[in-house]
Amino acid sequence: MAPLLQVERSTKRFGGLIANRDVSLAIEPGEIVGLIGPNGAGKTTLFNCISGALHPDEGRIVLDGADITHARPERVCRLGIARTWQVVRSFGRMTVLENVICGAFRRTSRVAAARARALELLAFTGLAGKEHVVAAALTLADKKRLEITRALATSPRLLLLDEAMSGLTPFETTAAVELVRRIHGELRLAICVVEHVMEVVMPLSHRVVVLDHGEKLTEGPPAEVARDERVITAYLGDRYRGRA
């Protein structure tokens, strides 16, 4: 089966710093891929290149046959990629419901239809009852949930989650993981997760890709990657050796 997303030798430089060097990666439809690596490895830069916020200096990014290497973010979204951000973003002055409605307009132009879809999704992600809260007033966990809901409203085929669990309490983290599982299970999306919290990423992912200093170190099933010497040296530390 042809991959949904294909990143071919993507390179991105910021002045003298090479944030991504020759990174290649493929994501199949419906799979969950974890993207890990120490801080500064270039994970968010890669996300930015995929989603169109940045453009790679070299290489290609192809989504289901369409070349999106230099596409603007709105086109990338239209083609089926949605993302959340490392530092959570929302339309602060609009209510929760209005935020999601904005996303829903990607698939319909009628306000009533968008509203209905938004309400549906809010119920699905567990924010029912908070529709009329102004986004800026939400807790961090709820803001992240809102971001995800809004992204889902655009009916993506691939969802990019950038550190969706950071800053959450253990309780909130468990809830978030459960949400991701549910999204994957019921909506059948491909998901790519950037995470630092190992206990989250490893069990969740079908496959893990490791970046270090801008380059891809290795990839494979979580258990294998966790045992890989190079990965351990770069990042995981001895505690995780052998953990599956």
């Binding site: 169109g52 609009m94 904005c102 009628r110 968008a114 809004r150």
Partner: protein
């Protein structure tokens, strides 16, 4: 509802007493309120601050004037023509500028306005600084006046008052419809978080252009109305700083981004200027821009202490307290 009634009946006492001047004040209030609503679309909803909207006011006035004078078009057709031309020009000049954000966009709009001034003063097509004059037919009753936007003689104040009321109402209703539509959502999304908006599929550049063009259309309509009222279009007049600032002030003072904000603002601000003009009359301080000084002071006060405008004051709280007092003293 009460407001609508007041608005409709407003000119009548003045008609009776022959003080037509006040009808003109009403006309100006409504005109500025309408422009304020237009500005609110780009400034309040889309969050892109345009400091040079008067170029579209001028484009509207000139287009309508040219269509009427040179091609003999009916006033209302000319109005439509003006709106279309204004939108077209706006789209053309705004698209490149949409890459700019925040302050830079604002300065660019001012720059556009400053470029427009010498063009207005020297372009032969519009007769440069000598202006264009709109011919008015004498005679003709009220209905004829409505059809052609010409009210010779005494009917002028009344006629233009109702014309402006009509256009204002249309603008208000249109704005309300837009606010609740997909466009309304998208504008506010671009304002709150442009990158986030793009990530959910909103073409921020396109919507900035749309918002500004909507404003351009409203300003063009206003400019046309003004042109027919003044019966002449001069570059200094229509590109004046006031047409830039007053609608924006009305919107901000009343409540930026709120539908009725500009209306409240216009109702508060315009009479101040007129009051200054009448009380200072020809005295020593006349023509010294006292009204602008007051405007300046008001702007600074609002900016410093009540940036969300007058509508954001806790009216309902105060009303409740008043009612509380009333009932308490009633009981006691």
């Amino acid at each position: 509802m009460l407001g609508a009634l007041v608005a409709l009946l407003y000119p009548i006492p003045f008609e009776r007493s022959g003080q037509i001047y006040y009808e003109t004040v009403g006309f100006l209030v409504l005109l500025n309120a309408m422009l304020g609503i237009g500005w609110n679309i780009i400034g309040g909803w889309a969050g892109q601050f345009d400091f040079g909207p008067s170029i579209f006011f001028a484009i509207g006035a000139y287009t309508a004037a040219l269509l009427t004078i040179n091609l003999g078009w009916n006033a209302w057709l000319a109005l439509l023509g003006a709106m279309v031309v204004s939108a077209a020009i706006c789209a053309a000049v705004t698209y490149p500028v949409t890459k700019l954000r925040g302050h830079y966009f604002a300065i660019a709009t001012v720059a556009m306005w400053m470029i427009a001034q010498p063009i207005g003063a020297t372009w032969p097509l519009i007769n440069g600084s000598q202006g264009l004059f709109i011919p008015v037919a004498t005679g003709g009753g009220f209905v004829h006046g409505v059809l052609t936007m010409e009210f010779p003689g005494r009917g002028k104040g009344l006629g233009f008052y109702y014309l402006s009321l009509a256009l204002f109402t249309i603008t208000l209703l249109a704005a309300r419809a837009i606010e609740r539509s997909k466009w309304g959502f998208y504008f506010r999304a671009v304002r709150d978080d442009q990158d986030g908006a793009e990530a959910i599929g909103i073409d921020s550049r396109l919507y900035k252009v749309i918002a500004r063009c909507l404003m351009a259309v409203v300003f063009a309509a206003g400019g046309t109305l003004y042109g027919f009222w003044a019966l002449a279009v001069f570059p200094d007049q229509v590109l004046e700083v006031n047409w830039n600032i007053l609608p924006m002030m009305a919107a901000v003072v009343g409540g930026l981004g709120r539908l009725w904000g500009p209306v409240l603002g216009a109702v508060v601000l315009i009479p101040i200027s007129q009051l200054m003009a009448t009380t200072l009359g020809t005295g020593p301080l006349a023509g010294r821009g006292i009204d602008l000084i007051i405007y300046g002071a008001i702007i600074m006060v609002i900016a410093g202490w009540r940036p969300n405008g007058l509508l954001s004051l806790p009216w309902s709280e105060w009303a409740a307290r008043l009612r509380g007092h009333a009932s308490a003293s009633g009981k006691a």
